[in-house]
């Protein structure tokens, strides 16, 4: 059943592979949620992983990061095996992560959230990076001294993405960055900010429930159903694929159709 349009050249084929996931099986306790999944993300690419609820999309990200239980397979970062490395070491190697929920430090101010994003760097370097992150999200400039719990949903999400930009990671793993945002804000986050990350040379692996919007900006996409990749192709091709329509329209409600 898995289909692939690998024969159609993915965008930026000349780019080096940033993150390569081979045959990953992972889950929680003894239960495997993700089965034998292969995913590849190249520098400068936004790669979307879409699928209905319970498809194992978030578990895949958590497996890469060592948060979910690893049961088999291999993860390579720039060609180097990083399978099973602790999360803090993956950060040091250049993998940034924005979780779906609890994506900010509630107890910290916006400025401190960004500062922790640049924890691995000197004070001076952090100041430079904070300026760059704030150029990306100028709306946060006036909110730097606010605790994040006082921010709106959109501002929180900006803080979360700005925090991960402080790390200046080569690879970004974003778990439903538009969760809880209004349709307008979701579109803005995906079409303006996340797309721009790819354009800035980042390798972005984006897990998104709002499939239509995510596929619209994705250079390449994987569709997962019940823990397995059933389709991989350019984002626009997955979007136009009748099978994708069937999976989503059959399994999901109107929210995703309009997303």
């Amino acid at each position: 059943m898995p289909t692939s349009s690998a024969d159609q050249a993915p965008v930026a084929t000349h780019a080096r592979s940033a993150l390569s996931i081979r045959g990953v099986t992972a889950g929680y306790g003894d239960a495997a949620i993700v089965h034998d999944v292969d995913v590849e993300v190249r520098h400068g690419q936004v790669v979307a992983v879409v699928g209905p609820n319970g498809a194992g999309k978030s578990t895949l990200l958590k497996a890469i990061l060592g948060i979910a239980r690893w049961m088999g397979g291999r993860v390579e970062l720039n060609g180097k095996d990083v399978t099973g490395l602790p999360l803090q070491q993956l950060a040091r190697l250049g993998i940034g992560y924005v979780p779906q929920i609890e994506d900010v430090f509630e107890a910290l101010r916006v400025r401190e959230n960004l500062d922790m994003g640049g924890y691995l760097f000197s004070h001076r370097e952090r100041a430079v990076r904070m300026e760059k992150a704030l150029d990306f999200f100028p709306q946060l400039r006036s909110k730097l001294n606010r605790f994040v719990e006082t921010l709106s949903g959109g501002e929180r999400k900006m803080t979360a993405i700005a925090r991960v930009l402080m790390l200046d990671p080569a690879v970004l793993l974003l778990d439903e960055p538009t969760a809880g945002l209004s349709p307008e804000l979701s579109r803005a986050v995906l079409e303006e900010q996340i797309k721009a990350l790819g354009e800035h040379g980042k390798a972005v692996l984006l897990v998104e429930q709002k499939a239509v919007a995510a596929l619209g900006i994705a250079d390449w996409a994987y569709m997962m159903v019940q823990g397995r990749v059933v389709m991989s192709a350019r984002g626009v091709d997955v979007l136009g694929n009748p099978e994708m329509r069937e999976i989503f329209l059959g399994a999901k409600g109107p929210e995703d159709r309009t997303a």
């Binding site: 940034g96 107890a107 922790m116």
Partner: protein, 295 residues
Amino acid sequence: MQLLIEAIGFGIASGAVIALGAVGFSVQFGMSNVLNITYGALMTLGAYIGLFLIDRGISPWAALAIAGVVVGAASVAFNRGLLAPLVRRGTRAFAIVIVTVSAGVVLQYVIVVFAGPDAKSYGEQSGQTFHLLGMVLTASEVTIVVLAAALMLGLHLLLTRTTLGRAMRATASNRILAQSCGIATDRISDIAWMLSGMLCGAAGVALAITTVSFDFSLGAVFLIPMIAAAVLGGIGQPYGAMVGGLVVGVASELAAAFTNPAYREVVAFGILIVMLLVRPHGLFGAAWATRRLMA
């Protein structure tokens, strides 16, 4: 009126000791989310280490510093060796609390094995007294109040002005996210346990300095006022615990002065019960309580 002012003076002195202990307790809870009842026995350990050192001619203040470091190291070992493995295995919070109660009893009786069950004393402290706004405080009490204030200020500056402090607050707030920033959370956790253990040990010696005599139950008895202070301030909140410590200290001394000295502990228990019933997130409310180790 004079009795009231004097009681407030005693309350500030005992509140400073309670605050030291409660702040340490809160730092530990904020970092680990574990209600560590062994904290009381660790405080007793601090008092007995102080006794051991003072008996060998070391000044009480040097003894306080040394006991703080030793209890800090013991706290780290206790967390690394016992609590962290239980947390990693997903042991239920209730079971972990029972483990800390049991470990506290074991430690208490280990102290008895080495030091005996008899009441101990650090001996006569300086007889010099200070008169301030009608309050009469001994030199030791004044020193402890100043020391507690200095330690609280130091902790505040650490938590808010340094990368280490922010990393501690970040780790307490969201451990996975902290790791994703490259923060070595196990090391940060060790530092937090060290700091809280140091405050615990220092509080044990400070309590013994201000007490005529003490025995192996010192920390166990003092645990309730400390927990009451921590709950009053919103558990996990060092700043709340400072305020809570002073409130519990002053309230207990007022009760002792105007009713019966035996009611001193009753007040702490009473505050604990009322707070849990009326404001379970502490005096400053739920929003504050979410900001573990906040700035």
